[in-house]
Symmetry: C2
Subunit: 238 residues, 2 copies
DNA sequence: ACCTGAACACCGTTCAAGT
DNA sequence: ACCTGAACACCGTTCAAGT
């Protein structure tokens, strides 16, 4: 005599459970955002479509519209989810320059952890709670540093814009490297082959311009330039 | 007796001209680029599809592929066409800071003249002749200013990245203003209504952060920050 | 050589109909 | 209230066939 669990038997036709509910977590904004971020992490923004996302959730695309107004709102949800990963250190008035750099680095890490999500970030004004908390932390550092309000407000645009543009370019670089690893060698050869008579300055600097793997240094350079520039704005407005 | 021009008559069936050639300029990269830029200027990047472009040229989408390898190459052609509009002043060693600002302003004007084309620019490494000529002019200014080569190379990334990101954000702002003029009022009300306990710094600076129509000033601020920062890098590397 | 129609494998969103 | 299938109006690209 062998015991057989009911899971191995088909549902009898009079059971109310027949084969209707394919066992699936119910839809919710949370679940939709989770699944969408998983797709972006695996394949980047171009892999994320409403239809693909629905498929991943075991439903049809139309069902998503009961929870999310459309793809633009979904992108906002993703961005705010990413923003939750950005930590701002508690402000220290004597150390705003190092602190704002740490904030920028944290933002870059959060963006870079999600492929080319920075591309969507560039096109959206952040309004979600996590983004606002993060921005508030950045403003706290700049204000503690004694910068005039107008400078703080402009800096609060400039810094995220720089970090996001850098992260976006970095993600495109990584994507190209993955899909077409020979591209950058070809590009370097192309630049090296340019006629020095027509483009003398490009030709003279081609090694510096093409230096590969300098992604982090370039970011640190831009960050240093911006922080020094902001510091000088503290003393003398233009 | 009335004279009738031959245009009013159908072609006789033995004519080699029957009704075959619908009078259309022949396809060429030039003509395709012209038409594509006209679409972008009228409707922005989202209006530009291979099918729509072909329709505008009186042909089918497949015909475009005889002249252009695909949409990515088309975008490169558009970007280089736009780059032709960027003038760099001849370098003056005593005036690099003002000159580099003029270069950045010229680049911003060229980008802004074509809706959200800056969005495509952000995603493409420029390789066309016009872009190279423009970059060479920018490098000439920075080198004449006496900046170290490494600083020149990094600056040659940072400045266009800043200008392009600014122009892209400006184009999205303009697009939203066109399509949904109430959006920014709503956004300002939303920010003004945020709880000051949770977001004290955002609440304190909400007027500065939301100040509308400050697009040009914000650009000039960022430019000043970057130029001052670069100048300080000339003296002391980090 | 250049162009074409038709097909392939996709999109985001809407809507009437179902449970 | 929530979900669904089917439809609408699109995409970029390929390819065999035509001139």
């Amino acid at each position: 005599m062998v015991f057989v669990s009911s899971a191995e038997l088909p549902h009898p036709p009079w059971s109310s459970l027949r084969d209707k509910p394919p066992p699936r977590a119910p839809l919710s904004r949370e679940a939709i955002t989770d699944a969408a971020l998983a797709i972006v992490d695996a394949e980047g923004l171009e892999g994320l479509s409403m239809r693909r996302l629905a498929q991943e959730l075991g439903t049809g695309a139309a069902s998503l519209y009961a929870h999310v107004s459309g793809k633009p709102e979904l992108m906002q949800l993703l961005i705010d989810r990413m923003a939750a990963e950005i930590e701002a250190p508690p402000p220290d008035p004597d150390n705003w320059q190092e602190q704002i750099k740490d904030y920028a680095r944290a933002m870059r890490r959060a963006l870079t952890a999600h492929r080319d999500l920075a591309g969507a970030s560039l096109a959206n004004i952040p309004t979600g709670p996590n983004a606002l908390r993060s921005i508030d932390g950045m403003l706290a550092i700049l204000r503690a540093g004694g910068l005039p309000d107008r400078v703080v407000a402009y800096a609060a645009d400039l810094i995220p814009q720089f970090v996001t543009a850098d992260a976006y370019e970095g993600s495109l670089f990584a994507q190209r490297m993955e899909r077409e690893p020979e591209y950058f060698d070809e590009l370097a050869r192309y630049f090296a082959s340019l006629p020095a008579e027509r483009f003398p300055n490009v030709a003279a600097l081609v090694d510096e311009l093409m230096d590969p793997g300098e992604q982090d240094e370039r970011f640190e350079f831009g960050l240093e330039v911006i922080v020094r520039g902001l510091a000088s704005m503290a003393e003398s407005a233009p």
